[in-house]
């Protein structure tokens, strides 16, 4: 039963991932990629890591929907309903893919697998939280601040109209000069 489930999920992950490059619609490609990620999340859930598995589901659904929006926006054919190709630089890609596969498969087959030391925590979620909030606290804090700085930096670089455009050079305009007024009315 467990083996069958594993085979189904693993095959789904690989086949859906490969199909991403066979379909001619950006929407289908994006959601096939989501299907592949969901199958991987299922595999993670099978290892008993409930929290991590469900967070993968949660993040990937939102992420793929947002990605679909951006992918379609940046397409040469923005409507996206006309056929398109996901292939670019096919020869180089084939070489890289083959080399990666050989390296990974070779590693999996040739390296001596270590014997398991220790035993899984009774509650992996709790163990993960304790690890993140004690031993890995500095890592997570650095990561969080870096990500946040990236978001702020990207928004600052991408925004077409900053506060000086909206509120004047002295930032003293009584009302902001916006085409669409937001709910707080600033």
């Amino acid at each position: 039963m467990t083996t069958a489930l594993f085979v189904v999920l693993a095959a789904t992950a690989v086949v859906a991932g490969a199909l991403v490059f066979r379909v001619d619609s950006m929407a289908r490609a994006t959601f096939l990629l989501l299907l592949s990620f969901l199958a991987v999340a299922g595999l993670v859930l099978m290892t008993g890591l409930q929290y991590v598995g469900l967070v993968i589901v949660l993040m990937m659904v939102i992420e793929m929907v947002v990605m679909a929006v951006f992918m379609i926006m940046y397409m040469m054919n923005p409507a996206g309903l006309m056929s398109m190709s996901m292939f670019h630089n096919t020869r180089g890609a084939a070489v890289i893919a083959a080399a990666t596969f050989v390296a990974l498969a070779g590693g999996a087959l040739l390296v001596d697998w270590p014997v398991r030391g220790g035993s899984p925590a009774p509650d992996p979620t709790m163990a993960l939280g304790e690890s993140l909030m004690s031993g890995q606290m500095l890592t997570m804090m650095t990561l969080g601040v870096t990500l946040f700085a990236t978001i702020v930096g990207t928004v600052v670089l991408a925004t077409g109209r900053g506060r000086y455009d909206r509120l004047g050079d002295e930032l003293d305009a009584p009302a902001s000069d916006d085409r669409d007024r937001g709910g707080v009315g600033r």
Binding site: F31, L54, L81, D123, G183
Partner: protein, 314 residues
């Protein structure tokens, strides 16, 4: 008493959800009639869900030229499925169908499938207005998802557990709505927004001729609309274990309290719906990001400090 309901309840859960949905749709028809100045007799309102469902069942399906039928079909089917799957962690009484250790994350992960569903339906119809509806939902989603997650986290921090039954157990004395009112309000707002319903109905708004659902007819529309109502009911029902004490209460058995509280939450949102206009995406986005998100973060901080002050991690 085991922590989980017998397996048969997995079959009963959709039936229960549909029954509550029926009652809510009927109540909504009544409220709409009253708000519109043309009261509907309650007998008519009570039969409206069945009549509409039958009308849609025998109605003609619509196929858009050049549309992506597969994606649209998947999107439509995912909406009710997401609602049903999210509901398996709902304690019906004190026990849910599935008592997952990370039940709150499960609920969150299932309910975000609505993002994919609405966008796919809007996309697959190959119609501009449908697509606008789909994009509107994503824009709104980016605004409500953060306060929603912070509201869920606050309840989990209050109980120091992601297990929904633990959250209920932690409210034996004091309901969480008393100590985390901001999170409760943010959660209720995101319930309506998640079901793109009421003030958050812009994705299927009249100004875009029905938006994401514009091209849906017959059974496709029935599944989509039912899924939307189921999502509203399942998410509103989740407010009961998270903030309103779940099955705890005097005199009545636990299941009756859950039912009464769920119906009360739904009655409140239905009554409010007809008093509020549809809110535009840019207004809601600014309010959500500038007011609601910081407010829910502050709420989470306060609850965390209280939890730490009461003796720290258990």
């Amino acid at each position: 008493m085991s922590a989980v309901l017998p397996l048969g309840w997995a079959v009963l859960l959709p039936v229960l959800l549909l029954a509550v949905t029926w009652a809510v749709v009927a109540a909504d028809v009544l409220a709409a009639g009253r708000a519109g100045g043309r009261p509907v007799p309650w007998t008519v309102a009570a039969l409206t869900p069945a009549r509409e469902a039958l009308r849609l069942l025998v109605g003609q399906r619509r196929r858009a030229v050049g549309g992506d039928e597969l994606l649209r079909g998947i999107g439509g089917a995912v909406l009710p499925l997401a609602a049903l799957l999210a509901a398996v962690v709902l304690p019906l009484g004190l026990r849910p169908v599935a008592d997952l250790g990370v039940g709150i994350v499960w609920f969150n992960a299932m309910e975000v499938f609505a993002w994919a569903a609405v966008w796919l339906v809007g996309w697959g119809s190959n119609s501009t207005l449908s697509l606008i509806g789909g994009y509107r939902f994503v824009a709104q989603g980016l605004a409500w998802e953060l306060p929603h997650m912070f509201a869920l986290i606050t309840a989990a921090v209050g109980a120091q557990s992601l297990r929904v039954t633990d959250v209920v157990a932690a409210q034996q004395g004091l309901w969480f709505v008393v100590i985390m009112p901001v999170a409760f309000v943010a959660f209720l707002l995101s319930v309506a927004a998640m079901a793109f319903w009421g003030p958050f109905g812009a994705p299927v708004g009249r100004d875009v001729a029905g938006g994401a659902a514009a091209e849906l007819g017959g059974v496709d529309r029935l599944v989509f609309v039912t899924g939307r109502w189921l999502l509203l009911v399942a998410a509103a029902a989740m407010a009961v274990p998270l903030f309103l004490g779940g099955g705890h209460g005097p005199w009545l058995p636990a299941w009756a309290w859950v039912l009464v509280k769920t119906l009360a939450v739904l009655a409140a949102v239905v009554a409010l719906r007809h008093r509020l206009p549809t809110i535009r995406m840019e207004r809601w986005t600014e309010f959500s990001l500038v007011v609601l998100t910081p407010a829910t973060i502050a709420q989470a901080l306060v609850v965390t400090l209280v939890a730490l002050g009461e003796g720290g991690l258990r």
